[in-house]
């Protein structure tokens, strides 16, 4: 294989792995949007907080990985449960914009509080894997990325099954469709809001671990939210399949763009490629590639 093709294959395969890791974070947005119709702008900050807790309990207090993850999980579930109960539930029935503004406020608060409580330095989350890359035929990939992608695939499959096949998943989609009608079906709507936020906390933890392992943990991790936003828009805000496809497209496109354009323009391509893609897709399909169109029967 020529060096040129080799380079391309490498870009695509690495973009593919990164893309799956984007998808995992993107699912957090979808969970909230699906059940409450609101966009949680603090999802990136959720990832950051979850990862900071894991990393600092490990490095500062010497907890083993599993315990650190457990502590972070309990915190995230408890925090999101409280958040839903005391901040977001009283806002039910208000314009969605109000909920969105509340999540933006929350995001800013997290960005300030995270470093204040745990310090601003970058800490690692070390998963028990080797640093050495894997070479498999023409593919040349880091084990960290492979593990990240594997965890992503596993949980994307679990969430996909939950939403599409399980009774609770159907109920959650029903709630997203209409709160009032769901109530009339005996669905305890508030309990499903709580469930959605807890799941969003769980996804944030998974995303935080996977990305913290890949790039280290500090406030930069909160940028994930912004980074993944084009993925969510590309895929349509309410589709898990959309998340996966959107993540893959963004991951691969930005890797290729960075590989070929960065040497020419001097870097930074990765940061804007996703937004260019997002705008292109919005021009063609305003509800994303997999989003539900507004059904209008005449």
């Amino acid at each position: 294989m020529s060096g040129e093709t080799q380079f391309f294959v490498e870009l695509v395969s690495n973009g593919f792995l990164t893309g799956l890791m984007y998808s995992l974070v993107a699912v957090g947005f979808v969970l909230i949007y699906k059940s409450t119709d609101a966009i949680n702008f603090a999802q990136g900050e959720f990832c950051m907080i979850a990862a900071i807790i894991v990393a600092s309990t490990m490095t500062l207090y010497g907890f083993p990985l599993w315990a650190a993850v457990g502590i972070s999980l309990i915190f995230m579930l408890g925090f999101n449960l409280g958040l839903e109960r005391f901040v977001l539930r009283p806002m039910i029935g208000r314009p969605v914009v109000a909920i969105i503004m509340a999540t933006i406020g929350l995001a800013l608060m997290f960005r300030g509080l995270g470093p204040l409580v745990f310090g601003a330095e970058t800490r690692p989350i070390n998963l028990p894997i080797e640093q050495a890359p894997v070479i498999w035929g023409p593919f040349f990939m880091s084990q960290i990325d492979i593990l990240g992608a594997a965890i992503s695939v596993l949980f994307l499959a679990v969430f996909g099954w939950f939403f599409l096949k399980s009774r609770k998943g159907v109920a959650m989609r029903a709630v997203a469709d209409s709160h009032q009608v769901s109530m009339a079906m005996g669905i305890n709507v508030e309990r499903y809001f709580a469930l959605a936020w807890m799941l969003a906390g769980l996804v944030a933890l998974l995303g935080g671990i996977v990305w913290g392992n890949a790039i280290g943990v500090d406030t930069q991790l909160a940028q994930l939210g912004l980074k993944v936003f084009p993925v969510v828009i590309l895929g349509g805000l309410d589709s898990i399949i959309g998340c996966i496809v959107g993540g893959l497209i963004v991951g691969v496109c930005e890797a290729i763009a960075a590989g070929y354009l960065d040497p020419i323009v001097g870097g930074g391509t990765k940061d804007f490629t996703p937004y260019v893609l997002m705008i292109l897709v919005l021009m063609i399909r305003p509800y994303g590639m997999f989003g539900k169109p507004i059904i209008e029967r005449i």
Binding site: R173, D177, S178, M185, I295
Partner: protein, 263 residues
């Protein structure tokens, strides 16, 4: 027995919509409540199913009893568990879910997947059209199919009482006949009781056992369906004369005024 005892409903603490409504819907019967636009029929059904509160409405006086137990302070999901479920005006299917997923959502309170499956088969037996269309997104079903789905979805929770809000609205006469026929069969074969709200008095009185007429948030007339069919006022105002179209509310008002003036 489902009973409304002299209930009063207020929206936003000031708008009085129901003023002392008393209704009895006996077990195993179809009871109809007739009334023109804005009479307060939907409000009455929401009061029963506990759905007033999210709309800032409140049962401010009187009580709602189901088999002797007061249910007017219960939450909507508790009322469904007690065996009362509402089918909304305008069908209100979950548009983005398939027909079958709508049924699954309707059976939310069922304890087991086996029970869910069993009830689903029963719904498909009564509405075979739904079985054919089970994998279609509900938003793309025809109006008649959506109404069948709305009724079928309500049946999934094995209710004792189904509250039907204007099921004939906007549907072709033939489809309405079909749906009303199924409702009768459900009463006879499954012992489901219905509280049927309608503007179309002719159709409703054909299948109902007893009925009430509501005007401006109060019951103005009640009786067995056969009596109501023969009642001169009902014939005049709601059934329309000599087979022509039902008169509009405005005509009724006008007629009332004239009658009062003549009297």
């Amino acid at each position: 027995m489902l009973q409304l005892n002299n209930i009063e409903v207020i929206y936003d603490n000031v708008i009085l919509v129901l003023r002392g409504v008393s209704i009895e819907a006996p077990e195993g019967a179809i009871t109809t409540v007739l009334g023109a636009n804005g009479a307060g029929k939907t409000t009455m059904l929401k009061a029963i199913s506990g759905l007033l509160r999210p709309e800032r409405g409140d049962v401010s006086r009187g009580s709602i009893e189901f088999n002797g137990e007061r249910i007017d302070r219960m939450l909507p999901h508790q009322i469904v568990r007690n065996g009362i479920v509402q089918v909304f005006e305008g069908r209100r299917v979950f548009e983005h879910l398939t027909a079958e997923e709508n049924l699954i959502a309707g059976g939310h309170i069922l304890p087991s997947a086996a029970k869910l499956k069993q009830n689903m088969e029963l719904v498909y037996e009564y509405f075979p059209r739904l079985s054919e269309r089970r994998d279609i997104q509900a938003g793309y079903l025809s109006g008649g199919e959506q109404q069948m789905l709305a009724v079928g979805r309500a049946l999934m929770s094995e209710p004792n009482y189904v509250l039907l809000d204007e099921p004939s609205l906007g549907l072709a006469p033939m489809i309405v006949q079909e749906i009303f026929g199924r409702i009768q069969r459900l009463r006879d074969e499954q012992n489901v009781s219905f509280l049927l709200v309608e503007q179309n008095a002719k159709l409703a009185l054909e299948i109902a056992d007893a009925g009430y007429v509501m005007e401006n948030g109060a019951i103005v007339l009640e009786g067995q369906a056969s009596q109501l069919r023969d009642n001169a006022d009902i014939k005049e105002f709601y059934l329309g004369m000599s087979g022509e179209d039902r008169k509009s509310f405005r005509d009724v008002k006008h007629y009332r005024r004239r009658k009062r003036w003549l009297a």
